[in-house]
Symmetry: C2
Subunit: 194 residues, 2 copies
DNA sequence: ATCTACCCTTAACCTAGCTTAAGAAATCAG
DNA sequence: CTGATTTCTTAAGCTAGGTTAAGGGTAGAT
């Protein structure tokens, strides 16, 4: 396991020259993460942009009453960071936690900015990456407004089949914005229909 | 009124050379839009990325029951487009409508791609622009999950004071994901507290 | 292998926000 | 200026989803 995973991922957008790959290889840091380990803790600055080579992570906020709300999951070949905190280097309100043991490739803000300067096409790649995430998030906002919990759950199963088999229902419920108890009711109801 | 508005806006991120400005000036199209005119209709492809020079627009989806749900507002110096449809050139499920008469500066996908190639720093600028929008949207998802309609309404007034004076409450309600009737109740309740 | 910590489900009761309806006030187009 | 269209509000009844509590099941750590 090495930085090759992230380089390969970036090359799936645009091929990179040998020198560029060497620069990338130099700046990414490989870390092994244990289950339940946090790679971002609310109140601290998000120091790394994280590429998931192996495992599954969630980013979540905690409300006034202490309830957790999942904003995003990230499994293999996905990126995760509190982008606001990462760019401003101000404290984050979010947490990123491993749902399984895993391996990540991380880069610091100043190193990523160095790479943006020295490998201009990275701007294009990361623009596309965030555009894709933006579209996903926008669809989610629309779904949340215009459909019931049951429709959203079915949509989740369809859109993220690899995740729905892998995550406990409590985590899915938190992502859908409902309680685990209600998700249980929804699932029962779906089953009874066939 | 001319393309200067958009060039000035882009220069607020990174200065541009004379040649670059000329290229930009060539490719943007100025249009006057009437109140209630749609610049994107669901079912059609989103052909333009739109910079708002004057006026106020909303992007919205329509659900199974015919209810409209506002996803985004855009006033002066903001951008609006269904980014998914714009990039894939597949039909959009969204509409963009003028809430007031206004002036927009629009660019076609192929022209924007031409500019990305010929003015590489535009990739950086548009990456930053979409990152900012992404952060906004992410905060919105979190807010929707972790607070009541009243808290969200107060948050909206604080975050978008220029919009809250300008928009009818029906539009704000649709953005907050509640009915106008319930917003009315919320407003009454806020007033009675002082 | 066993203990512990989650995880899933059920059920009774509760509440934030929706629906429907209808009138008054504001705004827009001609 | 005027009629037509939106917008805002109120109120009564309703429903999707939350809360609380409790039992059984499952998976991780040692």
């Amino acid at each position: 396991m090495s930085n090759q995973a992230v380089i390969q991922h970036l090359e799936s957008f645009i091929p990179l020259k040998g020198i560029e790959k060497a620069l990338l290889d130099e700046r990414f840091i490989l870390r092994h993460i244990k289950r339940k380990e946090k790679i971002l803790v609310a109140g601290e600055v998000c120091r790394y942009h994280t590429f998931v080579a192996q495992g599954c992570f969630r980013m979540f906020g905690v409300d006034d009453k202490g309830f957790e709300h999942n904003i995003q999951f990230a499994a293999e070949n996905d990126w995760i960071a509190d982008i606001g905190s990462f760019h401003t280097q101000k404290p984050s309100q979010l947490n990123i936690e491993a749902l399984e043991a895993g391996v990540v490739l991380q880069i610091k803000q100043q190193d990523l900015y160095f790479l943006y300067k020295n490998i201009p096409k990275l701007n294009l790649i990361f623009k596309v990456l965030i555009e894709l995430k933006y579209i996903e998030l926008q669809n989610r906002v629309l779904q949340n407004f215009s459909s019931t919990a049951e429709q959203r759950y079915l949509g989740f199963l369809e859109q993220y089949p690899h995740l729905s088999n892998r995550l406990p229902n409590t985590q899915i419920a938190s992502y859908l914005g409902i309680t685990p108890e209600f998700l249980s009711k929804v699932r029962k109801n779906i089953q009874s229909k066939g």
